[in-house]
C-alpha cells in the first residue's frame, strides 16, 4: 500500500472519515505519521474553541474580579481559585463523573426533553472543562493587566467624554490586551499542550477517534517502540506551537502598532508562567 493511499484512508480517521479499522500489522512510518497527524485535528479543535470561548469568559471574569460589588467579585475569585488551584487532570475526571450521573433519558425542561448523553462525549464535555480552565488562568492574567492600565489613559478617556461601555471598548480593553498579550501567549501554548490530556482522563475515545497523543500511544503500545511514534507527535506539536507563536506575534504587533518602539521587537518572557 502506497503512502498516498494510506493518507487517503487514514488522513481524516480521527473524525470518523475513511478506513474504520486501525492498522493491525507492520505499522509503517507513513501510517504512524498519517494517523498521528489526523489526531492533531482534535488538538486544534479543542485549542481553538477553548481559547475563543475562554477569551470572552475570561474578560468577563477579569471585570467581575475588579468590580467593587462583592456579589460579582467573590464568585469570580472563587471560580479562579478552584480552577487555578487544582489539576486539570482531576477537573476532567470530576466533569466526566458528574456528567455521567445526569439521567440517561434526558432532562425535562418545560415539557421539552433535553438530551444529555452528548455531554459525556469528549468533544463537548472536555471542551467545557478546557474553556472553564483557560478562562480562569486568562482571567488572572487579564486582571493583572487591567490593574496596570495607566491611570492617565482612563483620565484622558474621561476628558473626551467617553463613558461606560464606550470607554471600556475603545480605551481600557485595548490597553489591557496589549499588556496581557505576552502572558496570554504563554497561556495559549499551555492550553494547546494540555489538550493532549483529554483522552487520557476518563473521556473515552469513541470508536478509536482520538487526538495525536492517543494514536501515538496506540502505536507505542503495539510496537513496543516509543522512539518512533512519540517523536512524530512531538514534531507535529513543535510545528503547531511555532505557528501559534507566529499568529500571536502578529496580533501582538497589531496591538502595539501605535507604539513606535515595542512593535518591532516581540519578546516573550523567558519564564513559563501559568
Amino acid at each position: 500500500m502506497s503512502c498516498v493511499q494510506t493518507i487517503m484512508d487514514y488522513g481524516l480517521r480521527s473524525i470518523g472519515i475513511g478506513e474504520r479499522l486501525l492498522p493491525r500489522a507492520d505499522y509503517t512510518l507513513c501510517q504512524q505519521a498519517t494517523l498521528i497527524g489526523s489526531g492533531l485535528i482534535w488538538n486544534l479543535y479543542f485549542a481553538v474553541l477553548a481559547l475563543s470561548f475562554g477569551f470572552v469568559l475570561a474578560t468577563a471574569l477579569a471585570l467581575a474580579k475588579t468590580s467593587p460589588n462583592p456579589w460579582l467579585r467573590k464568585p469570580a475569585d472563587a471560580f479562579i481559585f478552584v480552577f487555578r488551584g487544582s489539576p486539570l487532570f482531576i477537573q476532567f475526571f470530576i466533569a466526566y463523573e458528574s456528567l455521567v450521573l445526569l439521567p440517561r433519558a434526558g432532562i425535562d425542561i418545560l415539557g421539552m426533553t433535553v438530551q444529555t448523553s452528548w455531554l459525556t462525549r469528549a468533544w463537548a464535555g472536555a471542551l467545557i472543562v478546557l474553556i472553564l480552565n483557560t478562562a480562569a488562568y486568562s482571567a488572572q492574567i487579564f486582571h493583572g493587566a487591567l490593574m496596570s492600565v495607566p491611570k492617565g489613559e482612563v483620565e484622558a478617556a474621561d476628558a473626551y467624554g467617553l463613558t461606560g461601555w464606550k470607554r471600556f471598548r475603545r480605551v481600557i480593553w485595548p490597553t489591557m490586551l496589549r499588556l496581557a498579550w505576552p502572558s496570554y501567549t504563554n497561556e495559549a501554548i499551555f492550553l494547546f499542550h494540555a489538550t493532549t490530556l483529554v483522552y487520557f482522563s476518563g473521556f473515552p475515545a469513541f470508536q478509536q477517534k482520538g487526538d495525536a497523543l492517543y494514536y501515538a500511544s496506540y502505536f507505542a503500545d503495539r510496537t513496543f517502540n516509543p522512539f518512533v511514534a512519540y517523536p512524530i507527535a512531538a514534531a507535529y506539536f513543535i510545528a503547531a506551537t511555532l505557528a501559534l507563536i507566529w499568529i500571536f506575534g502578529r496580533v501582538n504587533r497589531r496591538l502595539n502598532r501605535h507604539l513606535p518602539d515595542a512593535a518591532s521587537r516581540i519578546r516573550y518572557r523567558p519564564q513559563l508562567m501559568r
Partner: protein, 293 residues
C-alpha cells in the same frame, strides 16, 4: 480496623462509614497521598539540579554543551509535557534493559524482533523473580526520573531567564576586579539570580503540584488509581457494597490539591518578600518604602 467492623453487613449509618473508611484498601488509598508528597519531595530538588545544569550548559563556552543546554531549556516550549511523561519511562526502561542485554546475555539475537522487544531473562528489569515491592519501587523510580527530566527542563528555562536578568554591570564589575569566569559565576551570578528566578520557580512548584496526578498515567498506584478503584460501584459480592461514588472520591482529591496550592501560595508569598528585601527591584523598592528606616 475497629473491633465492631467484623461483620460490616449488619452495620448502618455512621458506624458503617467509619468501618468503610478504615478498610484495608482505604488505608492504601491514604498511603498513596504519601506517595504524592514523596514524589514532590524527591522530584523538586532533583529537577532544580537538572535545571541548574541545563541553564549553566546553555551558557557554556563549549559549543556542543551549549547546544545541548539550549535544546534542553527550550524543549518544553514546543512539546507537551505529557508526551515526555509517556515517553521517558518506557524509553529509559528499554535503554536499561538493552544495556543489560549487551552485558549479561550471550545471545546475538537483536533486541527488536518485529514488534517485540526481547531481552533474555537475566537482563529483565526488575527480574521476574523479584518481589512485588521491587516492581512498585522501580515504577516509582522511573516516574521520578520522568518528572525530574521534564521539570528540570522547565526549571532550566526559568533559571536561564534569571541568569540573563542579572544586571550585566554587576558581572562586569566582578570581572573588573579580576575574578575568573568561575568566580564571577559563583560569587555574583548565582547568588544574584535567585530573586529573579523566584517568581518562575514558585510558579513551577505550583505546576509540579498540579502535575502529580499524572503519576496515574505512568502506572503508579497513586491517588487517582485508588479513587477510581474504590469509587467504582461495588456489588453485594463485596464487603462494603455501594453505588458509583467516584465523584465523591475525586472531589476529595480536589480539596486536597486546593489545600496544597493554597498553602504553597501563602508560603511562597512570604519567601518572595524575604528575598526582595534590599534588592534593586520594584518589589524591593516597595518593601523599602513600607518600612521607613
Amino acid at each position: 480496623m475497629f473491633s465492631y467492623c467484623a461483620d460490616p453487613s449488619s452495620l448502618e449509618g455512621l458506624v458503617w462509614l467509619s468501618c468503610y473508611l478504615t478498610s484495608g484498601t482505604h488505608l492504601l488509598f491514604y498511603a498513596s497521598f504519601g506517595t504524592v508528597l514523596l514524589l514532590l519531595a524527591i522530584t523538586a530538588p532533583i529537577a532544580l539540579l537538572f535545571g541548574f545544569g541545563g541553564a549553566m550548559a546553555s551558557r557554556s563556552r563549549i559549543a556542543p554543551l551549549r547546544w545541548f543546554g539550549g535544546i534542553y531549556t527550550s524543549m518544553v516550549r514546543g512539546v507537551p509535557d505529557i508526551i515526555f511523561f509517556l515517553f521517558v519511562p518506557i524509553a529509559l526502561d528499554q535503554g536499561f534493559e538493552w544495556v543489560r542485554h549487551q552485558i549479561l546475555c550471550d545471545s546475538d539475537a537483536p533486541v527488536r524482533q518485529g514488534n517485540d522487544f526481547v531481552v533474555c531473562a537475566a537482563a529483565k528489569l526488575p527480574l521476574n523473580s523479584a518481589a512485588p515491592w521491587v516492581h512498585d519501587v522501580y515504577g516509582i523510580f522511573l516516574a521520578v526520573i520522568a518528572f525530574s527530566v521534564v521539570f528540570g527542563a522547565f526549571a532550566a528555562n526559568v533559571l536561564s531567564g534569571a541568569m540573563q536578568a542579572v544586571p550585566r554591570a554587576q558581572l562586569e564589575t566582578a570581572e573588573a576586579y579580576g575574578m575568573s569566569r568561575a568566580q564571577v559565576n559563583r560569587r555574583v551570578l548565582i547568588p544574584q539570580m535567585w530573586t529573579y528566578a523566584l517568581p518562575g520557580l514558585s510558579n513551577l512548584w505550583m505546576i509540579l503540584i498540579k502535575a502529580t496526578p499524572l503519576l496515574f498515567l505512568l502506572g503508579v498506584e497513586d491517588i487517582v488509581y485508588w479513587a477510581r478503584e474504590l469509587g467504582g460501584s461495588k456489588t453485594s459480592a463485596f464487603t462494603y457494597p455501594h453505588p458509583d461514588w467516584r465523584l465523591y472520591y475525586f472531589l476529595g482529591i480536589l480539596v486536597f490539591y486546593l489545600g496544597m496550592t493554597w498553602i504553597s501560595g501563602r508560603v511562597l508569598d512570604r519567601v518572595t518578600r524575604r528575598l526582595s528585601k534590599g534588592q534593586a527591584t520594584m518589589g524591593g523598592e516597595a518593601l523599602r518604602k513600607e518600612t521607613p528606616a
